[in-house]
């Protein structure tokens, strides 16, 4: 079981996260939603070990992130975590294929060729693998980023507004791809978004406001999410 637990409490003047406890089930697609400034991005950064908590604990599996040194955290990100950011996901000097295999190359591990082929096939960019990021559209770039996150088979993928810069069709393609990954590979995904349509692709939606969880919904629909969000005053 890849149960992931978060307990956060920030003592800063502005409490980005305020005494928040949440866990994400393995093999599920969870969306985190909340109004601007609700702390959803901070939560994601802490979950991924990019940011440290003032107090509290973050677990990925049995590993407590707060106890890790920088190098250990880096190795953990390399081996057990995948990322899809809102923008600037790819290294501009590397072509698409090299970007996809970059985390494996950093770790000095040969990619699983069958998995690579399958992932590359499913993002539909087989003929564009030798192109550099500047020669790809925004949607293609995000799909390459998603493929990169998937191909190292991490315990968990964190996606931070992955569709934020995409038009609705490209966004739908990307979300469909993430959904497939959850179903086909039992991939655990946590996604921050403010788009109810995007969140509707998830198995479960966690709503946070003012740094703490306020609601959650399983098997969500866009309309249902919209209702909750209205209620939260977003």
């Amino acid at each position: 079981m890849h149960a992931t637990k978060v307990f956060g409490r920030a003592d800063a003047a502005v409490r980005a996260l305020d005494d928040l406890t949440v866990d994400f089930a393995a093999g599920h697609f969870t969306a985190i939603m909340g109004p601007s400034g609700s702390g959803k991005s901070t939560l994601l950064h802490c979950l991924a070990g990019l940011d440290a908590l003032t107090s509290g604990e973050v677990f990925i599996g049995d590993t407590e992130l707060g106890a890790l040194k920088d190098t250990e955290l880096t190795l953990l990100r390399r081996r057990r975590v995948g990322f899809v950011f809102q923008s600037f996901n790819l290294v501009p000097t590397l072509n698409a294929l090299d970007n996809i295999t970059l985390p494996l190359a950093i770790a000095g591990v040969a990619p699983n060729q069958a998995l690579l082929d399958e992932v590359v096939g499913s993002i539909g960019l087989k003929d564009r693998l030798q192109h550099r990021p500047s020669e790809l559209s925004g949607g293609q770039q995000q799909r390459v980023a998603a493929a990169r996150a998937l191909v190292s088979r991490p315990d968990i993928i964190f996606a931070d507004e992955p569709t934020g810069n995409l038009d609705s069709r490209s966004g739908a393609e990307l979300l469909g791809f993430l959904r497939t990954a959850v179903e086909n590979f039992m991939q655990t995904i946590v996604m921050v978004t403010h788009d109810p349509l995007a969140a509707a692709y998830a198995d479960r939606v966690v709503f946070i406001a003012d740094g703490t969880t306020v609601d959650e919904m399983t098997s969500p629909t866009a309309d249902g999410i919209l209702d909750v969000m209205k209620h939260l005053g977003a």
Partner: protein, 847 residues
């Protein structure tokens, strides 16, 4: 708009700081050169004024035929001592003193080592009892007994010489002689003459030890009251023989000042060249910094443009930023240069006890102007580029895109480089008489042209250098290679700065190695003797008694004296060697083109080298008119043979007897000898050393030792030049630091992404480090190729001046590549640390 500029300047002060350091270093060097030049001029000016203070008229011999101006004596005919009473009796002359002032007197330390001689020269002089003497006793009394000497105060202090002690001296390579220190004197108010060692004797002793043969070097005349200097000069001139001249004391001082100034200005110009090279290298750094800053600020500039700023305003804003940076950095540099001048003066061997540094407003103003102008000119190109930023294009791009290498740039670069090569070729081979300016401008054009073309070479060379790196170092190596290639122009101009320094150092290495090889081959080809004796302290030669001593030793054979001076032929000064022809084949190997070396046994015959013969149209049998420097009138000689000249022997060669007949003093320049039959070389060497043990300034060398010593002196000159070029290497290294630091800032999001994806800090540092190494190696390789080419061209051009062998010192050149590798590693330390410390969150969150 000015407000925006100033805000920008403050915001970028960190980014501009390395640029500023480059300007500071370059200008410090320039300003220190000015200060040192002025200081030395001033010191000598004071010395010559002191020396001629109160002296109305100076009588000297005519300048020798072909002689150059010189601070010491020996370049004029000596003044017969019988002339002193004649001058003394001229109406209006109150006192006339014969003065002797010559090189060749060397004090020995208690351990027997010569004192002074490296750097400032050593002089011997006679003590003149006159109210106007510049020597003022600090302690003891003037020389009275034949073995009394007075030593200058600076030398006395430096060597612990005290009044009353006995000290050994050597004159012109002769044997040791004991003297008694009767006094210690200052010169004017100073301790000595600009660091030169001076020993004063009684007049008869000075004549004896300095071998003046009863002559003086000049007569200093004091006037009776009421007689003007010019009147007295004219009256004295009327009684002088035709080969003597009289001039006023102040005219003499001015002439001496000018003579030194011309020597010092050669020295200052040479130093200034190194300062300007450093600035030139620094200008690459400036261009690079402003280009990168403008690329990074293209959004800000576009916003200004969108808000209605004109192109002109944007350009002016960038130039003002450059101007202010230039002024501040140059001012700091000029001030630093004054401090540097103290060290530089010391390096040149000048003591500053005579009144400290001379800092003129000109030194400071010129330095600041030069630094500011260089900075602004270097910023013009990037500033023009800034004005071309269209508002929309700039607002769109998130990361500044690499500038493409345009066709215009390639053509421009190729033409500039070609012009450079042509100028170099003309300067070296055409014999226009403008060699140095042509070389300077040609080299400059070549460097600029190559710098323009270098972006084309970045991809292939950096790609090739980076390939093994990617294999050995994995992802960091791979990314380093990609990063080095992503902006060819930036990489190229950073590498080009390093290229300049490396090219010059490599050229010097090739020339020096060729000098060594040519020297060794010249020695091998022109000396048959097994053993050589030379004088380490004096170019004036040494006593002929040394050869006589050796000739008496039966363990030695073929003891041959060689004397050297100059002679005027066809209106040009030519070097002249006098050689004993009796054993000429066994001691000297003349490679005869035609004629016979032994023909000089006949006093009518001379030998000449082939280069001079060809240039003048002389051949064996030609009869020509020559002027021996001391001879009253020209004489005719016949060319008895033409030999192949080399680095060691060129010019006219006459027999020792002919030499002796035409020069008043006989001093040997070298002695050649062989081991006698049945004697080993070691035994002969030991015998010679024992024979000459009383002559501490003589150096006894086997032929091989002579070759080695020749190489060592070239090595020394090479390292001096290298030291001066190190400054440009340092500035180029700063350029690497600067480019990397700015690139790291520019790529902070990318670095954040890589860190998020699992690149460790160590791997991040490694990535930046290898990028630096690729840039440094690129610069070094370009530099080596250009430098080797330039060095080869220079060697070829000087082939007929004795530089017959081309030698490319491969191991030395490889050594430079290794050094460049470490320069890259060092330059990357700070930028790499910065890259590794970047907060991942800031990097990926920054919009």
């Amino acid at each position: 708009m000015l407000k925006v500029t100033l805000r920008g300047l403050l915001a970028h002060k960190l980014r501009l700081s390395l640029t500023a350091v480059a300007i500071v270093l370059g200008i410090a060097f320039v300003s220190s050169t000015f200060v040192v030049g002025d200081t030395i001029n001033n010191v000598f000016g004071a010395i010559f004024t002191d020396a001629n203070q109160g002296i109305a008229v100076v009588v000297e011999g005519q300048t020798l035929a072909g002689a150059s101006q010189d601070i010491g004596g020996g370049q004029r005919l000596p003044v017969p001592s019988t002339l002193v009473p004649t001058v003394q009796h001229v109406n209006g002359a109150q006192q006339a003193n014969g003065v002797i002032f010559r090189t060749g007197a060397t004090l020995l330390s208690p351990s027997g080592k010569p004192i002074g001689g490296n750097g400032p020269p050593t002089f011997g002089a006679n003590w003149v009892d006159s109210p106007t003497s510049p020597y003022h006793l600090r302690s003891g009394h003037s020389p009275q007994a034949a073995d009394d000497i007075v030593v200058d105060a600076a030398t006395a202090t430096a060597n612990g010489i005290r009044v009353g002690q006995t000290i050994q001296m050597v004159f012109n390579g002769g044997p040791r002689q004991p003297f008694h220190v009767s006094g210690i004197a200052g010169y004017g108010s100073a301790d000595n003459v600009a660091g030169a060692t001076i020993t004063l004797f009684t007049t008869p002793t000075a004549m004896r030890v300095l071998d003046t043969q009863g002559n003086f070097d000049q007569i200093a005349v004091l006037s009776a009251s009421g007689v003007s200097d010019t009147t007295l000069r004219d009256r004295i001139a009327a009684v002088l023989p035709a080969n003597m001249v009289a001039q006023t004391g102040s005219a003499q001082a001015n002439q001496q000042k000018q003579a030194t100034q011309s020597i010092i200005s050669i020295l200052s110009t040479a130093l200034l060249v190194f300062g300007l090279i450093a600035l030139f290298v620094g200008s690459f750094l400036i261009v690079n910094t402003f280009t990168i800053l403008i690329a990074q600020r293209s959004r800000e500039l576009a916003l200004l443009r969108a808000l209605g700023a004109t192109r002109r305003q944007v350009m002016v804003s960038v130039l003002i930023e450059a101007f202010l940076t230039g002024v501040v950095a140059s001012a700091v540099g000029a001030a630093l240069g004054v401090l540097l001048a103290i060290g530089l003066a010391r390096l040149l061997g000048f003591s500053l006890t005579n009144g400290g540094l001379t800092v003129t407003p000109r030194s400071i103003i010129v330095s600041i102007v030069v630094g500011t102008v260089v900075t602004v000119i270097a910023a013009i190109l990037p500033a023009r580029r800034a004005t071309r930023v269209t508002p929309m294009a700039a607002l769109r791009a998130a990361v500044p895109e690499a500038q493409p290498v345009t066709r215009r740039r390639i053509i421009g670069g190729a033409i500039t480089a070609a012009i450079g090569v042509i100028l170099l070729g003309v300067g070296l081979f055409a014999g226009t008489g403008q060699t140095l300016p042509l070389l300077g401008v040609g080299t400059l054009a070549l460097f600029i042209g190559i710098a323009y073309l270098a972006p084309l070479l970045v991809r292939p060379i950096a790609g090739a250098l980076g390939r093994p790196l990617a294999r050995l170092r994995g992802v960091p190596g791979r990314l380093a290679r990609e990063n080095a290639m992503r902006s060819p122009r930036r990489t190229a101009s950073t590498a080009a700065a390093l290229m300049i320094g490396v090219a010059l150092i490599a050229a010097v290495a090739v020339i020096a190695a060729s000098f060594k090889a040519s020297g060794a081959s010249a020695i091998a080809g022109s000396i048959n003797a097994q053993l050589l004796v030379t004088d380490t302290t004096s170019q004036a030669g040494f006593s002929t008694s040394d050869a006589a001593t050796l000739r008496a030793d039966k363990r030695l054979a073929d003891v041959t004296e060689v004397r050297a001076d100059s002679i005027v032929a066809a209106s040009a000064n030519q070097s002249l060697l006098g050689i004993d022809p009796s054993a000429i084949d066994r001691t000297v190997a003349f490679d005869m083109v035609n004629g016979d070396a032994a023909s000089i046994a006949d006093a009518q015959n001379v030998l000449i080298d082939d280069t001079t013969a060809r240039a003048r149209g002389w051949m064996t049998g030609t009869v020509l008119t020559v002027q021996f420097p001391y001879a009253p009138k020209p004489t005719t000689k016949r060319i008895g043979g033409v030999y192949r000249g080399n680095a060691l022997i060129s010019g006219f060669v006459v027999s020792l007897a002919t030499y002796a007949a035409n020069f008043p003093t006989q001093r040997d320049f070298a002695i050649l000898a062989n081991a006698a039959a049945g004697q080993s070389l070691t035994a002969a060497d030991r015998a010679m050393t024992a024979d000459l043990s009383a002559y501490p300034t003589l150096t006894i060398q086997t032929k091989q030792q002579f070759v080695d010593a020749n190489s060592a002196s070239i090595d020394q000159a090479q390292s001096l030049i290298d030291v001066l070029l190190v400054l440009s290497i340092v500035i180029a290294a700063l350029g690497v630091v600067n480019t990397l630091a700015l690139s790291v800032l520019e790529r902070s999001r990318e670095l954040g992404l890589l860190r998020a994806l699992g690149l460790t800090r160590r791997q991040t540092r490694s990535m930046v480090r290898w990028e630096a190494v690729i840039i440094a190696l690129l610069g070094a390789l370009l530099g080596l190729v250009i430098g080797t080419g330039m060095g080869t061209a220079v060697v070829r051009a000087l082939a007929d001046q004795g530089l017959s062998k081309l030698s490319v010192p491969a191991s030395q050149l490889i050594g430079y590549v290794v050094v460049a590798f470490f320069i890259g590693v060092l330059a990357a330390v700070l930028p790499a640390r910065r890259a590794a410390r970047l907060s991942i969150l800031d990097a990926i969150a920054s919009e």
